[in-house]
């Protein structure tokens, strides 16, 4: 439970940090997203109810930051990010046996893929709302770029979170041939 609260605090801090990370102009203004990686680690290291709670917190913060209320309508309803996080985190949670066997690299790759999927889903919702679908180089980079960056950041963030999980005696860590044993090999 302590580890869950640590993750909630980290999600909040990461959300604030993301505000001050400038978009990367060499990557067609792709943004850096850290929160999804933390949530997806939580999906592996927490039991299902806490995983859902973490997805709720992360999606709530994202929507509170970004949802646009224009005149008398909300462009994408508050709550969609929560649903996206929950669905993708549930998929990651379903792959927990792999993580327990030490195959954490699959989850690093999936963290990137899922980060890109969240952005793709948001873009599709905006496009349907605004009435035209445009896919050009910039769009692909702004969807795929953050995914790629999340994939690259994931091993480091996973390692740090795993260390914190051990420090806080998280009881849901893999028992047999876990992350550490695999990393040591």
């Amino acid at each position: 439970m302590i580890f869950f609260f640590v993750l909630v605090v980290l999600v909040f801090l990461a959300q604030l940090l993301e505000i001050f990370l400038p978009p990367l102009d060499w990557m067609y203004n792709a943004h850096i997203y850290i929160v999804p990686v933390i949530v997806f680690y939580g999906a592996m290291a927490l039991p299902f109810p806490l995983m859902l709670s973490l997805a709720f917190v992360a999606g709530f913060l994202w929507d509170a930051m970004t949802v646009q209320v224009l005149d008398a309508h909300v462009e994408i309803s508050f709550g969609w990010s929560i649903l996206l996080y929950a669905v993708l985190a549930a998929i990651m949670h379903g792959l927990k046996p792999l993580f327990n066997r030490g195959r954490w690299e699959v989850h690093c790759v999936l963290s990137g893929v899922c980060t890109a999927l969240i952005l793709l889903a948001q873009y599709l919702m905006i496009s349907f709302r605004r009435g035209s679908l445009i896919f050009n180089r910039e769009v692909w980079w702004q969807i795929g770029g953050p995914g790629l960056l999340a994939m690259l950041m994931a091993p480091l963030i996973f390692w740090a979170l795993h260390w914190i999980a051990r420090l806080t005696n998280n009881p849901y860590l893999p028992r047999e041939e876990g992350f550490d044993e695999y990393a040591a090999r």
Partner: protein, 267 residues
């Protein structure tokens, strides 16, 4: 699936349904409260960001000076570094003096504000400013600088506000072209790879004959933006099947925004 998971799913679904059924007013209220909670972090973070940027800019200048003046003595370099620091101060003084002058000669009642964060999401072009309800700001108020139009406020909390930039596709501005009877709607592009994107002036008549260099101003139609605010300059113009479209360079360099004014009424 155990009982606790089922309970969690039911609670999660109920909370999600409650959020989905919220209207714009409730959504704005939640956002306003959220921004109020994080405002100390935003303001502190913004201050730190400025300091870091200033230090980095200073270091860059030193590097250039060192390369160009490798034969200069240490004393000379130290003097140049001091000069550089003073230039930063001078720049800030000039910036504030210019802002003050504009506020005094403007026809509008303006609230000066500082940008505390920018573009925190991929799909919306927004900035956050350090003024809110307590300063008389409300949603749907125009935001500008002495150079021209910047955007409009959307979510407003007691001492922080979100500004939807003119470069966002949702920020539609009724505009007219200088030296012609043409009127259209200025919008931003949905996705852009640049921090200073071009704007589109749509719904111009098919007979329009516009030239690069012509200036575009707000027409006052729609009620949010008063007429006569400089929006941008035409860069290119094309006739389409049913109408014409012009591409504009924004009047304000949105990538370098530091200070803005919120129009809270007329004098």
């Amino acid at each position: 699936m155990n009982r606790s998971s089922i309970v969690a799913i039911v609670l999660f679904a109920a909370a999600l349904l409650a959020l989905f059924s919220m209207g714009p007013t409730a959504t704005r209220k939640i956002q306003s409260t959220f921004f109020q909670v994080i405002s100390p972090f935003l303001k502190t973070g913004s201050g730190l960001e400025r300091q870091i940027t200033s230090v980095r800019a200073g270091l860059k200048s030193l590097e250039v000076l060192e390369r160009d003046n490798a034969d200069l003595k240490v004393e000379n370099r130290s003097l140049k570094a001091t000069n550089e620091a003073l230039r930063d101060v001078e720049h800030e003084v000039n910036r504030l003096r210019q802002a003050l002058n504009y506020r005094e000669r403007s026809l509008f009642r303006l609230v000066p504000a500082e940008i505390v964060s920018r573009d925190s999401s991929t799909w919306w072009r927004t900035v956050t400013i350090n003024r809110g309800e307590e300063d008389g700001i409300a949603p749907e108020m125009p935001v500008l600088t002495d150079e021209g139009l910047v955007g409009r406020t959307t979510t407003v909390s007691p001492n922080i506000s979100v500004v939807l930039l003119i470069s966002d596709e949702n920020c539609r501005v009724a505009a007219s072209v200088e030296g012609s009877r043409e009127q259209g709607i200025v919008t931003g592009e949905r996705v852009t790879g640049s921090l200073s994107p071009m704007l589109d002036l749509n719904y111009l008549s098919k007979q329009a004959e516009l030239k690069p260099g012509q200036k575009v101003y707000t027409s006052g139609v729609g009620g949010v933006f008063p007429s006569g605010l400089f929006v941008g300059t035409i860069r290119s113009f094309q006739v389409r099947a049913l109408d014409s479209q012009a591409k504009l360079a924004p009047a304000v360099d949105l990538a370098k925004l530091e200070d803005v004014f919120v129009v809270i009424g007329r004098k």
